[in-house]
Amino acid sequence: MEFVKPTIEYAELAPLLIVFGVAVVGVVVEAFAPRPLRRPIQLTLSSAGLVAAFAATVWIASGLDVVADGAARGLVAAGGTIIVDGPTVFLWGLVLLFAAGGLMLFAERRLEGGLSAFAGQAAALPGTEAERRASSEGLDHTEVYPLMMFAVGGMLLFPASGDLLTMFIALEVLSLPLYLLCGLARRRRLLSQEAAMKYFLLGAFSSAFFLYGVALTYGFAGSMQLERIAEAVRNDGGNSELLLIGIGMLSVGLLFKVGAAPFHAWTPDVYQGAPTAVTAFMAACTKIAAFGALLRLFHVAFGANRWDWQPMLWAVAILTMLVGAVLAVAQRDVKRMLAYSSIAHTGFLLTGVLGVQATSDLAVGEITSLQAVLFYLATYGFAMVAAFGIVTLVRDAGGEATSFERWAGLGRRSPLVAGAFALLLLSMAGIPLTAGFVGKWAVFTVAMSAGAWPVVAVAIAASAIAIFFYVRQIRLMFFTEPQGEVASVVTPSLFTSSVIAVGVVGTLALGIVPGPVLDLAAHAGQFLR
């Protein structure tokens, strides 16, 4: 057997290399830098890394070669394992943007009176002398920054992977640091640890399904490369059971990561238990990366037999929207409500994913499935990061106050914060003049044009149910008399306030002038095959 040395396109892979490089340097800093210096060094490193990676992404995006008769732009890098094409760089940009927002929420220290939101010493047991000492000495887990950078690296690699093995590795690289980050909350540590364990056990379980799917698909196609799998699917040479079971198991892994029903059970628990900064980061970035991978897998590798998997996605999308919207109505906790709302959004995004059609079936200038999902991910990210950012501000003596009773009448005490939260909720509900409306319109249009009208009908019904609980929250903040003890808004440092400001401005801007970002998504073109 002949081994060929692959050529590595360092320039085009620069964002990945920068992010992973910063993560590794961050680990070294943890080992050698004195404790007081660690936080400033880690913050400088991580923010510089994210900015540099974003700049490199923009530079790559502007210089991608046009291939395949203008339908796609990009190149196949690192011996076919990484594909840097239009959708990839768009998703890279989104992940890096929202990761920067997550980093700023991580860095916030004013809310806890000079301490971060992460446990002073994770190894110190809750309620013991050691924990109190860690707190009073002002200890801080600065490991969260390298952990976050590793997760970001995995998220960049996930939607860019050109073969199933790379996809599996990226899945693990993004998940493992997140499991740990979930368990590191400073307050309510039992909840946080429980969230970490649930996320870890269920995540590992679903990765095993993904991996068995990889093995079966490899057994069918004889190759891990998406392009070669697509070829084998087109010239179907028997053994299609192997392929169908493989597709099913791969979907279990990916649908778990995006939080689609019936694999959504972890989402509310983990979103509630994890430190809110981590929730903001993972709600936005994990979903973007996982939808990127889902789109690439279904559109590139299994595009030829979409009649086999589209019915499955129909069912999952319908179930996800209904479960998310209906169960959100029953919630009494803001973080859990946002988690169920994010499940409903997964359903809307899946509605966009299943709207895939052959290019020849599309009218000129008609919005494609890929374009709609990319745009929706942008609107979703802005709203989620900013909304969880606001949740970190509403506090009482015990830390963050997330139960509904504490939020009653918040609009009278802090009209600005409550107003911003209301605007984000209206965007999630899809009210015109906000980003959410344009996003929903885009995904419903593509699903409609692909003939998935039953899914769109359910989506509209689910949107109506969703409006109920978003408006209920707004009513709670502005028109309900507070009973008993209530929470108040703590003034954050510039970190959190700028994240919230950018999220709100982004939500409004994408709602009023969606054109530029829609064009950007259209300019991304198709996946490189």
Partner: protein, 100 residues
């Protein structure tokens, strides 16, 4: 090797034992061992298919899976250990503060 079917059948059986174990066992460590069993079942399938197709993709993948499994052990045991030290129990049923 002429017939891959017995090997694939064995891997499917191992995978199923692992999956059922995850669902019915209550100790977090045992649940985690069952996940590892599932990963090893995947390795067996990958190697069998690699032999059948006559290329190395599957065998290379099996090596990567071993590395991933090792990394997962580090993270997983750290999390389970912390929970055990806090609660004096590694049962997945006891960790039930977050629900509905």
């Amino acid at each position: 090797m002429s017939d891959p079917v017995p090997f694939i059948a064995l891997s499917a059986v191992l995978f199923t034992i692992g999956a059922v174990g995850v669902l019915v066992r209550r100790n977090a460590i045992v649940v985690f061992m069952c996940v590892e069993l599932m990963l090893n079942a995947c390795n067996l399938a990958l190697v069998t298919f690699a032999k059948q197709h006559g290329n190395l993709d599957g065998q290379v993948a099996a090596f990567f899976v071993m590395v991933v499994a090792a990394a997962e052990v580090v993270v997983g045991l750290a999390i389970i250990m912390t929970i055990f030290r806090t609660r004096r129990s590694a049962s997945v049923d006891d960790a039930s503060l977050l629900k509905y």
